[in-house]
Symmetry: C2
Subunit: 487 residues, 2 copies
């Protein structure tokens, strides 16, 4: 059954939460008295629809239903999870929790607060045990981190339930074991912010120079390893102790004098806002958001290729969803077998604005790989020294796939013997074939570097499929050579 | 003429400098009295050879010559650029500069110091004007940032010369206009380090939890936008002033009390080193270095796709080198034309350990795109609504390209008319053809979505090439269909 998330507060953060739940198939009910809330959430959702699917290699579930409630009572009805993202005013948050808990019982209530401790949030609550910090990072629909901070009064079962729910929507819940103002990440952001204000105020660097100093150097490092792992590597074979011995004394160096808080004046605000305009004013905020999201997708895709950090979260999320997908099963009786479901991602687009030609072959590989896994020529089989190699391919480009298109890859076995599989693959958008690929696969002893018969258990799975496919009509394009006139 | 860089100090940083210069075609002379220096630099260089070429879409120049000098005097002889990366001890640096300046005059001398100001480095120097800070970031062969900090005594011409040299080896020299302890970036690193030590010491979070709090959230943001641009976006349409009004007061919040410096005790070192072992101890430092480098390549490639941040630096670097490459020129008289030079990158490898099949088509696209640019069907032509689309392709897989292989793509025009180009592309490793592709390109009116004659100026460039290629032997594989027996 479709589950329901309740989002209280519909700004950039609340909208990001709503988008993440919706695109992961949850129904979402939003409460925000701001008459602009619907428009604002619509804008966040448009960004999320453009970018979140680009991280997935499994088709996204059908989007959930978005509704706007006229009261907190209406919003929380039937909710399995509640997230509060109102302004950072403790008394306002207390009022919201009181209203929520009049209408709902035992449901996890996460707060997006970046500063308050859970024990502060829980003060005077009817049921403090269900209220905790679930602090996300903008853009909420892309970045996996959510700091989960319980207090001593929290119900451990509620916290575990909440963490499991956040994993289901693709997040990385980081359990913060001891409450502290600003949790973990924002303490660092605050420290850097203080230092940056001093540098601008003292005329050492402009906002642009500071941004370059971050993104051309350590910023790149921190997206994939954090502070300590980075320094561990810097320490070399001698490791962390060596690093600390070398750099520890720097703590006493003169720049520690600048740990004061700079005075927050009008002049400082104007100075920074002016420099920021000069640096980024040529882009609208919407443009900057799209640039940011594309870059984040690129980073997270790069990490996904390597099963590392945020990329590991994405792979785990895919695996979870793929399991559900494969339960349906495919027979191949009477029709080519649907082996792959894909979506045209931003990186697949060429300068013509269409899917770049090599991605059609990539889509075919996804299809044939899934088929080979199905007949048992999987990773273990390859690890044992055998694999099917593509010997030859003929591609017909018949249509143009565009960004965001959902594609399927079907396979039809034209013939097979103990060493060869002759297959016809169609890349389709619905029923429309955008490309067809005729391929010859050779079974190879990888060490010897030559063709050899496939294992009996693989052939035993292949044979009945090939037999069933003999009844399928032979594709017109089969046997075609490049440049042959169409019949 | 090949230029020469002199590297004084051959640790991780000095080795990184040496690798960056060498791989960009400079000769490098290293001086380091450590008997292990040659081994250490060899290890850094092995990492750099594995990763730096993966960022380039233009063939790397021939590697420069690496030599080890037995004295500073010998090392600096004939050097066009000198970089000092010895330990952070001011009197040691002063001695090194004195020896350098006894043997060399007017050559830029950059210091890798992370803490000292240029005016401190220049004290008592024979020629203070040529000494400045050139502070890089580990791994030096990948990360583009070098903070260039002159003092009032610096020679502006020397500084500009140094910045130009660093650009030539692919770096981003950030000119820091006002000297300050620790320049810019390390002030932030120091601020975060202080905060992190407190969090570990107080038992709020382990090193691993802190690293996750960074790399799952804001770390990903900072690799592509820095602090201010990120917050500008967070402020929404109301912009930077709104953001500051909202978050400025937080500076006065309780966590600012933690701006003290934690006491640096044995216990703290043990605590952190122990947690770090638990977090990352399953990897050797070499493994972590390779993981880090692969991730950084992924990030920087993602940014390169988008011409943003560090990716823009890479594109500019390619453009500079491509210009030199194209000066040679190609005729196509008597042989297929070499249109593309490529290297098999880590992301091109499949689970068999070979170049993944769709990358052969990608390599062919690189080749045909370069050919189309050559005959004038370039980005401007496409912007005006016309382009060549691939209609059909036949691929023969003949060999296996592996990680790091240098490939070329050649094109032979089989026939052409005003609407069509029938071409034969070979992807070669040296003389060995690893794949051949027969392709049919159709000239298209993109708006109308149908074939139409190419522009006269394009046909005028295409015709003589097609004419010249008529004398070339017709490839055996041309006209082949998939599964046809070899003759």
């Amino acid at each position: 059954m479709t589950r329901k998330a309740c989002i209280i507060g519909g700004g950039v953060i609340g909208g990001g939460w709503a988008a993440r739940f919706l695109l992961n198939g949850w129904n979402v009910s939003v409460f925000d008295p701001d008459p602009e809330a619907e428009r604002k959430i619509g804008e966040v959702l448009a960004n999320a629809r453009r970018s979140l699917p680009a991280l997935s290699d499994v088709p996204m579930p059908a989007e959930g239903k978005l509704s706007f409630a006229s009261s907190i009572t209406e919003a929380v009805e039937g909710a399995d999870y509640i997230q509060e993202s109102v302004s950072e005013r403790l008394e306002l948050k207390h009022r919201v929790f009181a209203q929520i808990q009049q209408a709902s019982h035992g449901v996890p209530i996460g707060s997006s607060t970046s500063g308050f401790k859970p024990s502060e949030l829980q003060e005077n609550a009817a049921d403090p045990a269900t209220i905790f910090v679930a602090h996300p990072f903008n853009p909420v629909y892309l970045l996996p981190l959510a700091e989960i901070v319980p207090s001593a009064k929290s119900d451990a079962k509620v916290i575990e339930n909440a963490k499991e729910i956040l994993r289901e929507v693709g997040m990385f819940p980081l359990h913060v074991r001891k409450e502290i103002d600003a949790h973990i990440a924002d303490r660092f952001l605050e420290a850097v912010w203080r230092e940056a204000l001093w540098l601008v105020k003292d005329g050492i660097a402009t906002t642009e120079e500071i941004d370059e100093a971050i993104r051309m150097g350590f910023g790149l490092r921190w997206g994939q390893m954090g502070l300590f792992e980075t320094y561990r590597v810097a320490g070399g074979e001698a490791g962390m102790k060596h690093f600390m011995a070398q750099f520890g004394p720097c703590l006493q160096w003169p720049w520690t004098k600048l740990t004061d808080v700079p005075e927050f004046t009008e002049e400082l605000v104007d100075l920074i806002a002016g420099q920021s305009d000069e640096q980024s004013g040529q882009y609208t905020i919407r443009e900057l958001e799209r640039i940011r999201d594309s870059n984040l997708i690129g980073f997270m895709r790069a990490l996904k290729d390597r099963n590392w950090g945020a990329g590991k979260v994405l792979l785990d999320h895919d695996k979870r969803r793929r399991a559900a997908f494969h339960e349906a099963g495919e027979t191949g009786q009477g029709a080519p077998m649907v082996m792959a479901h894909m979506q045209v991602l931003p990186g697949w687009i060429d300068y013509n604005g269409h899917m770049t030609e090599s991605r059609y072959l990539f889509a075919a590989s996804e299809t044939s790989d899934a088929f080979l896994r199905l007949i048992g020529a999987d990773m273990d089989y390859i690890a044992n020294g055998h694999s099917y190699y593509t010997a030859e391919t003929h591609i017909m480009h018949l249509g143009e796939a565009k960004l965001g298109d959902r594609l399927i890859g079907t396979i039809q076995i034209l013939s097979s013997d103990e060493k060869r599989i002759h297959a016809f693959i169609r890349i389709q958008r619905g029923d429309e074939v955008v490309a067809s690929l005729e391929q010859m696969f050779l079974h190879v002893d990888m060490k010897a570097g030559r063709a050899c018969p496939a294992a009996p258990e693989v052939l035993a799975k292949l044979a009945p499929i090939a037999e069933a496919h003999k009844t399928l009509p032979r594709p017109e394009a089969a046997g075609r050579y490049t440049g042959e006139r169409r019949k």
